[in-house]
Structures are given as structure tokens and as C-alpha cells.
């Protein structure tokens, strides 16, 4: 082979392979940079929710009027569950309450038509350990703003690997992971058998007891201040806080590790700051059935839909009446008393 042929063919093959890789990555769009939907990219893996969702906001169409922010639990609330609202679900795994403020500011910079905010809060994230460390999106914003950010990610074997997995899942319509998204930003989880749920719930409760609950938990004194910052960031727009419904099994564990007083304090602070809060986190028809959960901690999307409906329409008839209470300064004492009663009952039943 002559040097000329060698050099030309090598360059051609390299460019062809690079172009093919970029083409597949564009077609499947595993990092959510382009927003197009087809039958081969209908199921998408999570690579880094923060980066992916910021990219969606940055590059995608901007007609959202409602922003939903929460932890991984809230990722399972489908934006389409809210009737008449164009919701962007900015929930991400392991979200800290301190992060909410920076998410709101970033969203405001991208979505000028925002009218309302739905903020999902988790009790275990109100501890000093989980809430004290500052968290912001700055690194991700900087990353997204780097020159040629999208192009670099097209020319990537890492992206290609995810593209291939997304392709396989999409053509076989396989939901086989804890969290997979469709192109509308809706999250799905694999369906577990009763036995699997039993096992995953047990393991999750053990983890909470070892890591988050009991002596590991101290209510973060600045938590109300963080809530106030969130309220201030919402300005005159509607701000709704809701607590995420955990399984009764996990709630019992909270009670048994002596955190019920902290829980009450948490609810009171939420009510104080915002004047009202949707509470879903206590024993009720939905939380009592552990099959509504993947692991006692994360609920399935249909529960997210019920939660959405309850928030939008307090009297929705197809939702168990005991799922969700709007707590205000007027009913907070009564509600917490009821929760205490339900908790005692649940503890007794467990033992």
C-alpha cells in the first residue's frame, strides 16, 4: 500500500467511524440534548439526572409554566399527571433541600413563563447531615456552557454505549431498571414481585436505620431558613410544598427510632413558612400497601399520579380519601395528633 493510499484511507475510515458514532448518538440522544423522539429512543437510561435535565432545559422547547422539584421519589411523578399545567419535572436523585434554590434560579433563567412551583420534601433530608452541606448546580451549568459541549458528547464512546442500551430497551420495550425515562421526561421503574418487594423494602429500612434515622438524625436548625429562601425565590408565583409518601413500614422505622417529634417539628416548620403543605407522609391506604413501592421508599408512577391529582383537586373521587391532607396552621395540631395515632397503630400491628 502506498503512503498516499494508507494516509487517505486511514483518515477516511476514522472520519467515517466518528461520523457514524455521532450519527447514532444524535439519533438516540442518550444525554437529552436534542429532544427528538422516535421508536428507537423511547426508553432512556439515567446517566446523570442533573446534567441531563439541565441540558433538557437549556436546549429543549421552553413552554413550561410549572416547575416540579424533588428527590428521586418525585421523579416518578409524571409531568402529564397534572391536567392543564405544563410541568417540567426537575427532580433528581439525592437532591438536597439546599439545591432547590439553585434549581429554581436556573429554571427561572431558562423558563420565563413559570407560574408555579411544586416542591417535594423528604423528612430524612431535613437532618443536619443531609441538609447542611451546600449544594448548587454551578458545576453542571459550567459544563453545559462549555464550547462544543453537545458535539463533544456526540463524539463519545461512552454516549454510544448508552445509546446502544437505550436502543435495545426501546425496541424490546423493556423496563428493567429502577428508573428509566421516556422522551416526555416521565420516569418508570421495573415491576417487582411480592417477594422482591419484601426483600428490597427490608434492605431499604435497614439502610435508613443505619444511615439516616435514629442517632444519625438531628433536625437541621437552619431548615426553616432554607425553606424561606425557596419561598422568596418563588416571589409572587404559587408555591406548593408536598411531603413524599413513604411506605408505612419505613414510617414505622422512623417512629421506632424516636424521630416522631422531629417529624412533627418538620411539618410545623413547613406549615409556618408557607402557610400550608400537602402531607402524604403518614400511614394511609396507599402507604400501607408496600406493593405501591419499589423498595418502601420510592413509589411507582401511578402513586405519583394520584399525588398530582390530589394536589390539583382535593376532592378527586378516584383517590383514597385518606391519601394526602392539606395541613395549615388551623389543622396542624389535629393532623399531627391523627398521625401519631396512626403511627402507634402501625407500630402495634408490626410488632
Amino acid at each position: 500500500m502506498t503512503d498516499k493510499k494508507f494516509a487517505r484511507t486511514a483518515l477516511f475510515l476514522f472520519l467515517a467511524l466518528a461520523a457514524a458514532t455521532a450519527g447514532v448518538n444524535y439519533w438516540i440522544d442518550p444525554l437529552w440534548h436534542y429532544g427528538h423522539a422516535n421508536a428507537f429512543n423511547s426508553i432512556q437510561k439515567v446517566t446523570n439526572e442533573r446534567e441531563q435535565k439541565i441540558a433538557m432545559l437549556h436546549y429543549g422547547p421552553h413552554d413550561y409554566d410549572t416547575l416540579l422539584i424533588g428527590s428521586s421519589r418525585s421523579t416518578y411523578i409524571h409531568p402529564t399527571a397534572f391536567e392543564g399545567w405544563d410541568v417540567f419535572n426537575f427532580s433528581v436523585a439525592n437532591m438536597s433541600v439546599r439545591e432547590v434554590h439553585s434549581m429554581m434560579l436556573y429554571s427561572q433563567s431558562q423558563l420565563p413563563d413559570l407560574k408555579r412551583y411544586l416542591i417535594g420534601v423528604d423528612f430524612f433530608k431535613s437532618s443536619e447531615r443531609e441538609a447542611a452541606a451546600p449544594r448548587a448546580l454551578t458545576n453542571y451549568e459550567n459544563k453545559i456552557n462549555q464550547p462544543f459541549y453537545r458535539t463533544k458528547n456526540l463524539l463519545s464512546l461512552d454516549s454510544l454505549e448508552i445509546s446502544i442500551q437505550n436502543f435495545k430497551k426501546s425496541v424490546t420495550d423493556t423496563i428493567d431498571e429502577d428508573r428509566l425515562y421516556n422522551r416526555k421526561g416521565e420516569a418508570f421503574a421495573n415491576r417487582l414481585t411480592e417477594e422482591e418487594v419484601e426483600k428490597s423494602t427490608e434492605s431499604k429500612i435497614r439502610r435508613f436505620e443505619n444511615v439516616f434515622y435514629g442517632n444519625n438524625y438531628t433536625y437541621y436548625k437552619d431548615y426553616p431558613m432554607i425553606l424561606q429562601k425557596i419561598k422568596d425565590a418563588a416571589g409572587d408565583d404559587t408555591l406548593t410544598f408536598y411531603t413524599t409518601p413513604i411506605s408505612t413500614g419505613l414510617f414505622v422505622s422512623l417512629v421506632e427510632t424516636d424521630l416522631l417529634d422531629d417529624y412533627e417539628q418538620w411539618i410545623r416548620d413547613l406549615v409556618d413558612v408557607n402557610g400550608g403543605i400537602w402531607n402524604f407522609m403518614y400511614p394511609n391506604t396507599i402507604t400501607n400497601d408496600q406493593m405501591n413501592y419499589i423498595d418502601g421508599h420510592h413509589f411507582y408512577p401511578e402513586i405519583g399520579t394520584m399525588l398530582a391529582k390530589r394536589i390539583q383537586n382535593n376532592n378527586a373521587s378516584d383517590i383514597p380519601t385518606d391519601f394526602g391532607v392539606y395541613v395549615t396552621p388551623d389543622n396542624v395540631d389535629e393532623h399531627l395528633e391523627e398521625v401519631r395515632r396512626l403511627a402507634e397503630k402501625a407500630v402495634k400491628e408490626k410488632n
Binding site: M1, T2, F6, A10, F14, K152, L155
Partner: protein, 466 residues
């Protein structure tokens, strides 16, 4: 700009290359100007603030060189040369060593000299040495008829600008003057592709893998025990080799795309059988510079054996200091100086070791010396040494957590890295082979493709800091 970046590979390089040869067909001086401007852009892309520094340094040195080369005003020549060298040394001293001296003076004399904490201007150690050589050779009347375009390119030619090799004006400037340089040469292009792809792969796939392990180990020295200590130090020894030689390979390849031949900087250094042999194979152009411009002027080996040893020691001390403004680098230089002197004494006394033992002693020394080279300070280096020599225990627990990899995998990767460094043909040998087979082409394409598809994980080269 970094060689292993998207901007460089997919934008800068193709544009500069295409325009260079398009213009070169018609008017080589314009192509040369284009290459000079492109090189300055390449330099400024990192930090535009230091562009005036390199340009100013180029202009001052060129003017002094031209004056010295004309051999006029004879009584002033030596003074002008001294001023020229002082100018270069002062620049380097101010930007690289100013805070180091201030810190040490403050510590020893109790003074309160404030620190300026400047960011080291990229490539200053390299272009300063190149220009000192130019001044000395101008004084020796060895630099006739150079023009500024050629000189500017000699200093700033982007393939070698940032991390070497340290090129000599006598090798470079005639190439920039040659009209053939401005016509596409497919032999150079194919050779360039071969060595560039190998260099890129060395950096992206190999060096960066070892970098992860080395960083994990050096980031948790308090957790190191015997096995993890060796894994850490070996990872760095391999990282440095693949990183720096990868850069040099890429530099040679890139220069060949423009029909320029750069000197070889590496010749399988870990195959060395003694420390002198190692320094003939590692960073060859630095050794060449130190030999020609410091060792020989000091008297070389002409002034008797004790003075020879002193001269050898001095050049290694300078080499250590050149590598970084810190005591760890100075100690590293001293260790190599001592080892070189001991090796000479041993050789003079007729001592010989079996080949395998000679290799083992050499590699072990180089490897142990790299511990202090890598460590941020002496105490960290001592911690790593302690761990390596079993003073912190020998337990295997926690290795997978420390390196985020299981022991078997780590050991295999390190053995593979060592195997490549010790037994594979080196990249220059592969490049020089006349085989232009489909298999070789496939090899090049796969290396290029794999490496170029990792560019979103861009990381700097180690020698960027020197």
C-alpha cells in the same frame, strides 16, 4: 489548547493543516506566517495573558541573537550574551521560582516577603532553554542568516511548544526555509498518523487510566500499606512514562503532518540497564541541552575525574530544579546526580552486573525516585516509602475501595503497562517501519477512533507544569 481535546483534533488541526498547504502551494512565506499565527493562537487559547510574554521573549532574543551573529562591536559581545542569558533566566526565575525563593527565605531568615502566586506561563521552561541555546550559538557564530519568521516558528511551532521536545534552532530553522516543507508529503503524513495515533492512545487510554490509580493512592497516603503503596508508585511511574512519551509521540506526528522532523525524546527508557543509559533514553533533548550548554562549558570530563563527577552532579541538580520549583524536585535531581556518579565509579572500577539484575536495579531506582518527584511534599513521599517498605503493614484490605478496582484487575493492568514499556517496540520504531499494510492501517484507525471518542474526558499532560 490540549492535543487530546476536541477543539484541537477536530477544529484547529484540520483548519491549520488545510490552509497551510493551500497557501503553501502559492506562497510559502504566507504559509509560514499562517503557521506562526496559528501557533500563537494555540498558545494564547490556554491563557491569552501570557501571549505578550512569549512574543516579547521571542523578539528580544531574536534581536540579541542577530546582533551576536553579526560579530560586530567585539568587546561588547560577551556582555550582551550575558545580558541575554540573564534576561531569559530572570523571566524563568520570576515566573517559576520567585515564590519558591521567597517562601524559603521567609522560612530561613524570618523575612516577610509576600508571595505573588503567579500562574506559571505555559511552556516557559521549554522556550527559555531553546532561546538560551540560540543566544549561545549566536555568540559562537553558528546562527547565520536566520529571519524572524523562521525564528518565531522555531520558538512557537505548536507541536513542540508546550512540552517539548526541546528543539535546537540548527535542526528546525533550515526545515522552515525548505520549500519542500510546503508541499504535502504522504510519507510524512502516513508516518505522522502512525505515531500520532499511538501517542494519543498512550495518553488517553493508558496514561489517564494509571493517573486515576496514582491520584487515588497519593490522595490517601495515610491509608497506604505495602501492596497499595507499590500499586500507587508503579501507577505513577507508568502514568508519567505514557503521558510524557505520548505527548512527544503526538508532537513528532503533528510536526510530520507539516513536513517537520522533531528530534526523538524517548527511546524505551524503562529498558535501560544503567542510569546513564536511562538518561540517554528519557527526555533525550533535555539531556542534550544540559550536556551541550552546561556540562561541556563547565569542563565536561576534561578536567579530571573529581571535577567530572561534580559537573555531572550539577547538571542533575539543575535538571531537578528545572522540573519544578520545589524541594521534591531538587531532591529528585540530587538522587539522580548521586546515582549517576555512583554508576560511573562502579563502571570505572570494572563492576558489572548480570543484565537482568542491572535492569532491576536501574528500574527500581528510577521508580523509587519518581515517588518523591510525584509527591506534593517530602512528608507525603516518606509516607509512600514507609508504606512500600512494609512499615505500615501489608494488609490487602481496602485496596478495592482505595482504587475503585479489585486487586487482580489492578495487578493485571500494571503488568500490561509494564509489559508494553519493556517489551513492545517503541512508537518511533513502529513509525519507521516501512509496512503500510491494511493491518497497520486498521491498527492506526482503531487507536485514533478509540482515543478521539474519549475526548469529552480531556485531561492535561503532566509536563505542562514544567
Amino acid at each position: 489548547m490540549i492535543f487530546n481535546s476536541f477543539e484541537f483534533i477536530f477544529l484547529f488541526l484540520p483548519v491549520v493543516w488545510i490552509v497551510f498547504f493551500l497557501v503553501g502551494r502559492i506562497a510559502p512565506p504566507f504559509a509560514k506566517t499562517w503557521l506562526l499565527l496559528a501557533s500563537l493562537f494555540f498558545y494564547a487559547y490556554w491563557n491569552p495573558a501570557y501571549l505578550p510574554l512569549i512574543v516579547g521573549s521571542m523578539i528580544v532574543n531574536y534581536i540579541i541573537g542577530v546582533f551576536l551573529g553579526k560579530n560586530k562591536w567585539l568587546p561588547t559581545r560577551k556582555g550582551i550574551l550575558t545580558l541575554g542569558i540573564l534576561f531569559n533566566v530572570s523571566l524563568l526565575g520570576y515566573f517559576k521560582y520567585r515564590d519558591f525563593f521567597a517562601e524559603n527565605l521567609n522560612a530561613v531568615l524570618g523575612t516577610e516577603i509576600s508571595l505573588v502566586q503567579l500562574i506559571l506561563p505555559l511552556a516557559i521552561s521549554f522556550y527559555t532553554f531553546q532561546q538560551i541555546a540560540y543566544l549561545v550559538d549566536s555568540y559562537r557564530l553558528e546562527t547565520n542568516e536566520y529571519n524572524f519568521l523562521n525564528y518565531g516558528l522555531f520558538v512557537s511551532f505548536f507541536p513542540q511548544l508546550i512540552a517539548g521536545p526541546i528543539v535546537h534552532h540548527g535542526d528546525m530553522m533550515p526545515q522552515f526555509s525548505d520549500r519542500k516543507t510546503y508541499r504535502i508529503n504522504y510519507e510524512n503524513l502516513s508516518k505522522g498518523l502512525v505515531i500520532f495515533s499511538i501517542g494519543l492512545f498512550k495518553k488517553v487510554a493508558i496514561a489517564d487510566t494509571f493517573a486515576g490509580y496514582a491520584n487515588s493512592g497519593y490522595g490517601s497516603v495515610e491509608a497506604l500499606t505495602m501492596v497499595s503503596g507499590w500499586l500507587t508508585s508503579l501507577s505513577y511511574t507508568l502514568q508519567l512514562y505514557f503521558d510524557f512519551s505520548g505527548y512527544s509521540d503526538m508532537a513528532i506526528g503533528l510536526a510530520l503532518f507539516f513536513n517537520i522532523r522533531l528530534p526523538i525524546n524517548f527511546n524505551s527508557p524503562y529498558k535501560a540497564l544503567d542510569i546513564q543509559d536511562f538518561w540517554r533514553r528519557w527526555h533525550i533533548t533535555l539531556s542534550g541541552f544540559l550536556t551541550k550548554y552546561i556540562y561541556i562549558p563547565l569542563g565536561g570530563s576534561r578536567k579530571g575525574i573529581p571535577q567530572t563527577y561534580i559537573n555531572i552532579f550539577i547538571i542533575f541538580l539543575i535538571s531537578g530544579f528545572w522540573h519544578g520549583a520545589g524541594w521534591t524536585f531538587v531532591i529528585w535531581g540530587i538522587l539522580h546526580g548521586l546515582a549517576s556518579v555512583i554508576a560511573r565509579i562502579w563502571k570505572r572500577s570494572g563492576g558489572r552486573l548480570p543484565k537482568l539484575l542491572a535492569w532491576a536495579v536501574t528500574f527500581l531506582f528510577v521508580h523509587l525516585a519518581f515517588v518523591i518527584f510525584r509527591a506534593p511534599d517530602v512528608s507525603v513521599a516518606l509516607s509512600v516509602y514507609k508504606a512500600m517498605f512494609g512499615l505500615e503493614g501489608i494488609q490487602l484490605m481496602g485496596i478495592s475501595v482505595l482504587f475503585n478496582e479489585d486487586l487482580t484487575h489492578l495487578a493485571l493492568v500494571i503488568l500490561l503497562g509494564l509489559g508494553i514499556a519493556l517489551f513492545a517496540k517503541n512508537s518511533v520504531q513502529i513509525m519507521e517501519t516501512q509496512k503500510r499494510t491494511p493491518l497497520m492501517m486498521l491498527f492506526v484507525v482503531m487507536l485514533l477512533y478509540y482515543s478521539a471518542m474519549q475526548l469529552q474526558r480531556v485531561s492535561e499532560f503532566l509536563y505542562f507544569n514544567f
